[in-house]
Symmetry: C2
Amino acid sequence: MTRASVIGVGMTPFGVHEATLPELFAEATLPALDDGGVDTDEIDALYFGNAMGGQTENDTHLAPTIASHIGCAGVPAQRFEDACATSSNAFKHAVEAVEAGLHDTVLVGGVERCTPETGLGTGAMTRVFASASHRQYEQPSGLTFPGVFGLLTKRHMYEHDTTDEQLAGVAVKNHANGTLNPRAHFGRDVTTDDVLDSPIVADPFHVLDCCPFSDGAAAAVVTSADNAGSFDGESVDVTGVGHATDIVPLADKVHPSTTRAARDAATEAYDQAGTDGNEMDFAEVHDCFTGAEVMASEALGLVETGDGGPAAADGRTSLEGSIPINPSGGLKAKGHPIGATGVAQIVELTEHLRGEAGDRQIEGARKGVAHNLGGDAATTVVTVMEAAT
Amino acid sequence: MTRASVIGVGMTPFGVHEATLPELFAEATLPALDDGGVDTDEIDALYFGNAMGGQTENDTHLAPTIASHIGCAGVPAQRFEDACATSSNAFKHAVEAVEAGLHDTVLVGGVERCTPETGLGTGAMTRVFASASHRQYEQPSGLTFPGVFGLLTKRHMYEHDTTDEQLAGVAVKNHANGTLNPRAHFGRDVTTDDVLDSPIVADPFHVLDCCPFSDGAAAAVVTSADNAGSFDGESVDVTGVGHATDIVPLADKVHPSTTRAARDAATEAYDQAGTDGNEMDFAEVHDCFTGAEVMASEALGLVETGDGGPAAADGRTSLEGSIPINPSGGLKAKGHPIGATGVAQIVELTEHLRGEAGDRQIEGARKGVAHNLGGDAATTVVTVMEAAT
């Protein structure tokens, strides 16, 4: 069943930006409004995501400032923060608000700056990111996110014989996809040897297993399915949105590498949509590290549990494979401006389901799924979208 | 019409706390669950507010951590940040979720630490607070929040002949109410002379016109009106929740002292509830500075525009007056742990509407309104609650 429709999308290139957060958000939003054929006075509410602006730029309470900046002053505007799942959570609430009849048409999006343009170098930014781990147990022990996902992935390797080469396969694939995406932070190919020869960050991850810190913004206009026909933008249906969390800290999880929240969120989203992972034509998943994509592909039911590594290595998840994953290049190559990442996945799904994804188009795509996680694989939002019939 | 019901409430004393954010939140939540007769496995979602934890304690993505800490691991948990209106916005979304049938029973609350227990002194904390003003235009000019509300109040004084003595009347009243509230940060009386003789912070505000930085937490359990009878907690009905924003920065507002967002939010909340300001028996308003209470009392229609100052000075808004405002002591005396303040107002409304407010009880209270604002009088949430019939 259609819960809501996306009628307009926009995003900035991901990479390095000088613009302020409101300016950068506008660079995604105004194209989204244009794409949808939506005037600012038709926007009834702003569901806004930003994860770290307080720490990076001493900038909070951004929702009304941004509403003012883009010409929607006065609308109910709210900021969400759920670490790297920030804007997919904003999207979930936008879909729910439209479905419940609270608002007719909602602007949803996210923005973040994570590069040295903020004035923070990699070390300081790593500490800022680590604020999303457990404050009492994990931060004092130096467990930053390469370590969090390294631990999860090492457990997956132990349980399923996943190899370094298979993990590298994820990076090779996503970099290849990124060369076809003009908005990607990294537009260059890498080889398995490049990945395996790059310096270790946190075992088993080499530098090239890790996504970058990026600046960027993404936006979408959501309206009711009944309302969608009144706008010029080609609509795409949102048929399921699942949201679950898992235990924090990491050490308390029972079966860490199964990423329980992802499985719970996927079950919820698929149930709403009356579908399952087997019916997906493609997926955008949260590959902050290569191991995270492996676990996500299993949690979403796109491959069998334990088969995520082989599937990446043997090309099943490539653009030409049986289940393409991260045609955008994913966080790995497209980039990862934290608060923008979730809605950027929605933008990618929308473009494929419209047949507008250019050189990386998944031919004949009718159903796609997005998976966005935050923190210690804790917050997870899974969204199913389908081409309008 | 009843939109949802509050069946359990709890809050910590406001003041200085050593506990971590999750621990402090638990100190409010466990009493709220106990008050409602609610088991943790009956909680379907957590709507959580914290404004500044990233900046004050390098602690973000708190919602799943807190869900884990209080025994609700796995539920959909989301963090809201809308400056000082943070947890009233979380409350709005909780009410909407219950009303839409998305969740049966929701835990909503907020927590914040703002005292030197965070390691930040008053100067550093003032800068953190200022992150909620306009980053490009206001922060570089040194416009912190005493200045923001000083400017709004000076305009009000110019337009309506509001006096320093009338502003002081707000502080005297709220301190008096605070002496009756065992959870208040300040439990002592002050006189008009005390206020006027205290040092100037930002004209027209003396120190005693300003609320303190506090630590604290507040929580409420929200369920559908149909469901409320199945819990032991005495239910109170939520009949209206309005949410609006206003232009940021301050300099772009057309009629600053009318606090347009508050008027828009109040209109929305009263319309939903089929009532108006004249029918309210009492109010909790966002008196971060004395002038803010004056403007709020007018925006909510509790007194005529321009009459807020005289109403405070002549006792009409005292506990024994025709329209008691801030029986809790308000932010001024009860304290202001930013992300907890909105839900703390809901706790106060609930206790009066149940007849459980002790020495400060508004006798026979049947209808109350809460007004919580964030930033440059930008985000405003207004909630109408009524005793269950």
